[in-house]
Amino acid sequence: MLIDINTCFGASPQRRVRKALHVQSARMCRPRPGLEPTTQDVDWSLDNLIRIMDEHGVNRACAYSLRGKLYDFVSGNDETLRASQLDPRIEPVATIDPRRHFGCLEEIERCVDNGFRLFRFFPDEQGWSVRSLPFMTICEELAQYPVAIMVPAGGWGDQTFLAERLCDFGFPIVAMEASFGQGAETAALTERYETFYADTSALNTADTIEAFVRHAGAARLLFGSDSPEMYFESAYRLVEVARIEPEQRDMILGGNALKQLLKAVGA
């Protein structure tokens, strides 16, 4: 069973690539005239996501709509629902943008009624803080339902804040795309909080996966690829080569997502 918890589909108007902040601040040359910011032609289509799933034998992909992230979460969630009806391997992930505030709680109820059990948030890209009342209000509402939330690893301290504030709600919290800069915080939280999980898509080394397994247990890691923006193989090969037991690998590649996330929340 291969389950990818980090995928999306839709379109991106800017075609601009996301440059990590530590790299942006590292520019070490006067800009030369005539050079535009780099664009990247990613095929964000649902067809391409399904092609990637077919090519790599992905049994289920937790996917959100870029329309929901970039434009309107209501119609985006509708689009995600249609995608999951078109291909049952798509596990629908709802998005809510707290900047709208009005109507967010109603959208949560509508999504839950429509079968969504995963909710994903994008504070960095949408420009809001997890330390804000609108987001906390959303989390209080989500706590009424059998759902899980997915949040970016974010800046240093954000994950700790979320775990401390949300652990009493009881829903699973998945830290998305923690790289070497935030990995220590993610690791510490998976050790401390039973409801805290980590997506593997940006962990960067098999050593890190092995360390997570040793300290927090294999049950706390969920395989994600960040397809179609990233090469699927990069994230997959890390799990493949990690020196862990075969059953632990199976857990990370799909068993955990199924048992700890999807079944636990009734998805």
Binding site: C29, Q40, A184, N204, F232, E233, V241
Partner: protein, 249 residues
């Protein structure tokens, strides 16, 4: 297929990874990924102490034929950097120099960088430079034109600016790129193949800050042909570094 890794590091990182024998870690990764030669620079030299780092790395890799080294040099410390090259480049295990503009605090278009690269060109045939934007890549391309015998490898291929950096590689005969990066953006290697061709691309892993499996995932995800693999994983680096022999696949 056996590989030459042109971008690796020897040392520790303050990230969640094991604190054990750095050399053994690299050798284990080499064995796992069929890396016949791994060319390292010292993390200690880059992050903190150039002289101590270069010395430590040279001592560590010397007993291991698989591990080769770049002398780390720092444009903010020109006389010391020249001394380091004089001391270590004559060694068989040391194949070139490495520069990290950001961590030395000297921009690529700073005259001090030009002066350092002139000193490198006087002593070495290979220079690896941490390159995470297109403007720096163009500046390094200009330096490479001045010193046509010096093969300049643009490490990280400009991060997200890889298309423009591939254009620099296409336009300057002695510029090469390698793609190790924590940003495995899909399609960047396929586009680079179209821009500069497989003859200008090498394999670099950034081990063990990154795992070679992670970086290889990008190359393998690009659907390389066997001929492209042969060039990227071995032939180009073997030619640049002057390493003997083609591997048995």
């Amino acid at each position: 297929m056996k590989k030459i890794d042109v971008h690796a590091h020897h040392g520790q990182w303050q990230f969640p990874m094991p604190v054990d024998d750095e050399t053994e870690r690299l050798l284990r990764l080499c064995e796992r990924e069929q890396i016949e030669y791994m060319v390292c620079s010292s993390a200690l030299a880059i992050m903190y102490d150039m002289e101590a780092g270069n010395a430590e790395m040279v001592r560590a890799i010397e007993p291991h034929e698989q591990l080769l080294g770049y002398v780390y040099v720092n444009a903010a410390m020109l006389p010391e950097s020249v001394e380091q090259m004089e001391r270590y480049l004559p060694l068989d295990s040391m194949v070139g120099a490495k520069i990290h503009p950001r961590l030395s605090g000297v921009a690529c278009d700073d005259p001090r960088m030009g002066a350092l690269i002139a000193e490198v060109a006087a002593r070495a045939c290979v220079l690896l430079v941490h390159t995470v934007d297109q403007h720096a890549a163009h500046q390094l391309g200009d330096y490479a034109r001045e010193y046509p015998h010096l093969s300049v490898i643009l490490g990280h291929a400009g991060h997200t600016d890889s298309d423009e950096v591939a254009r620099v590689a296409a336009s300057v005969a002695n510029v090469y790129i390698e793609f190790c990066c924590e940003w495995p953006g899909a399609g960047k290697i396929e586009r680079a193949l179209g821009i500069c061709g497989p003859e200008k691309i090498c394999f670099g892993s950034d081990s063990d800050l990154l795992d070679p499996a992670f970086t290889l995932g990008m190359y393998e995800g690009a659907g390389l042909s066997d001929a492209q693999r042969q060039l990227i994983y071995w032939d180009n680096a073997a030619r640049i570094l002057g390493l003997p022999g083609r591997p048995t696949a």
